[in-house]
Structure formats: C-alpha cells, structure tokens
Amino acid sequence: TSTDPLTIETSLPFTSHNCEPPSRSVETNPQELISFFRDMATMRRMEIAADSLYKAKLIRGFCHLYDGQEAVAVGMEAGITKKDCIITSYRDHCTFVGRGGTLLEVFSELMGRQGGCSKGKGGSMHFYKKDAGFYGGHGIVGAQVPLGCGLAFAQKYSKDETVTFALYGDGAANQGQLFEALNISALWDLPVILVCENNHYGMGTAEWRAAKSPAYYKRGDYVPGLKVDGMDALAVKQACKFAKEHVLRKGPIILEMDTYRYHGHSMSDPGSTYRTRDEISGVRQERDPIERIRKVILAHDLATERELKDFEKEIRKEVDQAIAQAKESPMPEPSELFTNVYVKGLGTEAFGADRKEVRAVLP
C-alpha cells in the first residue's frame, strides 16, 4: 500500500477553549489508514481475548479493558514519536501495544509470567516500556497526571524538544492533584498534554454525577483545551500533532477525547447497571473506531472488504499464538520476590513472611 498523501475530513469539528482549533482536514495516506485498522483490530482482539482468559481464571485481580477506546491510542501514536513520553492509568494494555509492546509481553504479564513486560511482577495495571517512552501503567486515579508533568519537566530540563502525553479518565479529571500539576505546568511552561479520555463513566458513575462541569477540555480554566472526537483516529492524530506543537511553544494544553468503553469498568463490573444496552449498541453501531476506519478504507478503495477480513483473521491467529506462547512462559523464579526492591540493595537483608525461614541479601 502506498504512502501517497491523502486528505480526509474529520467527521466532527473540534471544539476549542482559549485556542484556535486545528484544521479538520487531516493528512494521511493509505499505509497509515491500513495500519490504523490493523493496530486497532489487534487491540480489540487482544482485549476480547483477555476477557476470556480472565473468565478462565488465567488472569487474576483487576483487569481493565480498553476496547472501544482504541482510536485514542492509535491516533495519538500517529501524531507523535517514541521520543515523546506517554503515561496513563491502569487501563494500559493498548497504550503499551501502541508504543510497540508485543502481544506476548501483554499476555505473559496478564498471566503473571516471566515473559511479561514487568516479568509478571506488575500485573494488568503496571505495564511499562521505558525504551519507547512509556512510563506506565498507574493504579491510583489521577496520580499519573503530575507524574506526566514531571516527565515533561525533565524533557524541558534536558532540552529534548519532546513532549509528554498524560492520559486520565473523566473520573480522574476531578482529582485535585491534576489542578495542582496543571498550575505548576502552566507557570513553568511545561511541554505536557493532559489527555482526558472521556469514556463518560468512572466505574459506575456517569460524568455529570461526578463533575459539576463535565466539559473537561475547559476545566483547565486558564489553560487552553480542545475537544476531540476520540472515536476517530484521524481526529486524534490531528489533535495530538497540534497539541505537541502547541505545548513546545506555549505550555500545557488539555485534550478531551470523547470516547467509550464497551466493557465494564473491570472484570467484576458487568457494565450494564448504570447504562443501557441501547447506549452501548448505539455507540458500537454509529461510532465504533474500527468500523469508521474500515469505511474510510473502503470508500477510498484502499483495500477490499475481503482483504480487511483477512487481516482480522491473521490478527486472530497472532493473538492466539501469543496466548499459547505466553502460557509456556514460566512463572517468575521465587528469587524474584526480592529483586528490584531497590536498584542498589546495599547488601542488606530482606525478610520473607517467616524471617527465620526466608531471607535474602538484596543485590
């Protein structure tokens, strides 16, 4: 497929606060569109498979799935580089894959195996890929926002001319530390983009029940903001490019991505008590990010329906293979209990539950 330029209009306009919005005409090319399709379909399949593994009790604890929101992860990557940093919440599987993480690493981590991106020690909520600028995977709602501002601080301090995208949910958008970090970032002109992935629910709470003003792109008050159709990978790409340029010159900005999660909050939430099935199926039918790109591809004759279906079959196979491989990955060695507590363990002793039985000298 070619890389000839192609311009496509976003289906919805951007809404801006204290700034001029970018153009609705997004430059792209066939290759990029096909990769959007492939990447999003991979993420979708991966999350569905995680759901099954969870139900088969191969994944434990919390497991927050991203299906429905794929356009944000994929569109964002198209607008930035791996020198830019990303930091997000516990809903981190697809963000990790967007940064180049492999399916094998994902499934191994989810099953707590050595092959996981955190060697099985982090779990679903704590994926990282520092070599590609991905700083996790954070379990405390809102905490990743100041952390992301700190990454941006370091980028500016190091004169790297790169930026950080700090992703958080609509529920997290009310956290005080976000306002604290935003004020500091604005005072210090930090190259940080606060990306509110507004999927309209924080667990079982609809946005308007948690926020007096759910216009998250405006919540920075004195900080500019942009509301983006988060189901449209092209709009996301355009917004992220725009935001990156903006923050390098003018300091922080907020992007509100209007998106949706199909699954419940985590595996214990059926996701259907606080919203109607009609609402969910309406979004699936009218706004699904994969279907939207499929339509664009077909409309522009960049691939046939058949080809796209074949991609999906391939992906299915890739996912199944990764799972099979991950299942082969061994559990961590017991000695890993005591590694990585510190970078420099100073040779001190650490204790197991029964310290007379299990103790280790920290490396």
Binding site: R60, Q177, M203, T205, P332, A353, V358
Partner: protein
Amino acid sequence: KQMMVREALNSALDEEMSADPKVFLMGEEVGEYQGAYKISKGLLEKYGPERVLDTPITEAGFTGIGVGAAYYGLKPVVEFMTFNFSMQAIDHIINSAAKSCYMSAGQISVPIVFRGPNGAAAGVGAQHSQCYASWYASCPGLKVLAPYSSEDARGLLKAAIRDPDPVVFLENELLYGESFPVSAEVLDSSFCLPIGKAKIEREGKDVTITAFSKMVGYALKAAEILAKDGISAEIINLRSIRPLDRPAINASVRKTSRLVTVEEGFPQHGVGAEICASIIEESFGYLDAPVERIAGADVPMPYAANLERMAVPQVEDIVRAAKRACYRSKPMAAAQ
C-alpha cells in the same frame, strides 16, 4: 445461623442509620452502584440520596467534607474503596480528625468512621495491597479496629459508629464473602462490641498467637494443625489495634510463655513489633523463647501468583514459627 461478613457490615450500617438520623454514608460508588464490594447494598434505596452519597473520585475533598460534617455533630461513615486510596486523604484523617479534640481542648469532637477494605486482596499488585494498620494505630486520637468474623464486623462497626471519636475501620476484601456462625445476641440490633478489647478465639496453654483480620483465620487453622502435634495454641484476635489490648496479650503470654505474632502488613514497625515490645516491657521474665514474628514479606506486593503467595503469611509459616517457639524451652544459650 450463618452470616457473611458482607451482610454483617451491611446490617450494622443499616441498623445504625436507622437508629440515628445523624449517621450518613459517603464514598465512591456507595449509592447507585450499591458499593464497589456491595457493602452498602440497598442503603440508598432505604435512606435516600441525602444520607447515602456518591462522591467523585476525590478522596482528599470528600474526606475533608466528612470530617467537617463531624465537627458540626453529624456522624459520617466515610468509605474508601480501598484503604490504599486513603493516602490521598491521610492528612485529614491525622491532622484534621485525630488531633482536633486535643488541639481544641475538647471543644471539637470528631465522631467519624473511615472504613473500607485494607491490605492484600488477590492479584491486585503493589499499589492496591498495602496494610495500613500500623500507620493509623501509631496515631493518638484515632481508634483503629480490624474485624475478622461476622460477629466482629457487626459488633465493631456498630461500636465505631456510636463512638464519639474518629475510628479507622479496616476490613478485608477476601473476608467479605466468608460466612461465620452468629448467635441471636449478635443478630440483635443492640449488639455492640467494646473497643479496645481483644478476643480469645481459642484457648491454649503452650503458645500464644496474636493476629487480626484475615490472619485470625489462618492462625486458627494453624492451631488445629499444631493440636495434632500436641501443641495447644491460644489464638488472640486483636480486634482493636489502637487501643491495643495489652493486658489480654500479656496475660496470655504469661500463661503460655511463648508468642507468635501474625500480620499481613510490612514487618518493620508493624503490629508484631509493638506486641513484642509490649511483652518485653511487661512480661519479660515470662518468656521462654524469643517472640516469633510472621508478617508480609518486606517487598512491594508482586502480581504473579507464586510470588504473591510468598509475600503474605501462610498457615504453614505460622505452624513453623509456633513449633520453633515451643521446641525451645529455654532462652538461647548466650555468651554468658
């Protein structure tokens, strides 16, 4: 009759809300969602949105609001979805709640309960598994309770809500679904347990084992195994970490001359360390063997199932420690 811990907590909340219109419940997902762990099931429907308040995910803000409401004379029950998130609000728990009565020489009282699951659940990783018992219980001005059984859950939660001081109430997610036998007395709406008193869950004469929350169950299992080896273990369910029932613990150790402490939290500066110090201070001469301490491993909680298992105490750890204490009848021969 059997009752689940979840039901015990729910009924305690229900009865206290019904008995005192000043009692209200606030927290994330406590209302329409019926509680992240369904502890508040049915309460919104019964008491309405004025008394069962869903909050945004802003612990510092809503905890401060809870404490302020208590200053005024209401009796808030503040639910943390888990106690890990109480760190965002800990300044209000310590500085605004625990110290106000003292700083105001008694003018301001703070009848509030902070409750929610504490400590390790299953497979939730390092940020969602911490035990806060020793931190909170180090602070004068707070009372800190940790129920084990349904009887504990009912009796202590009712006591906490009725108490005029701030109470940190540490539940355990993995116990919510466990059932325990309960007597008619326990089921009575007037039932209440005293704060500051431990319970001897099982009498014994060879070794004292202290535990709280989920570890009480492990200690009881260990006692059964020990009994088969002819070791009679006395199991103390601490129930209250602050005030700590020093008299009960010391009395038991004076009888058994041996002590194993069990907790899931980090060992350093933990509940076991305090109990050990208390015994040394009050009953030094009675000890026939060094105090054995079983606690969470001194590492952040790993996710992988095999590592996680190693990171929290198991029944066999307790059994092993108790045997070590018992098979050594005299203090170690020293340099003396």
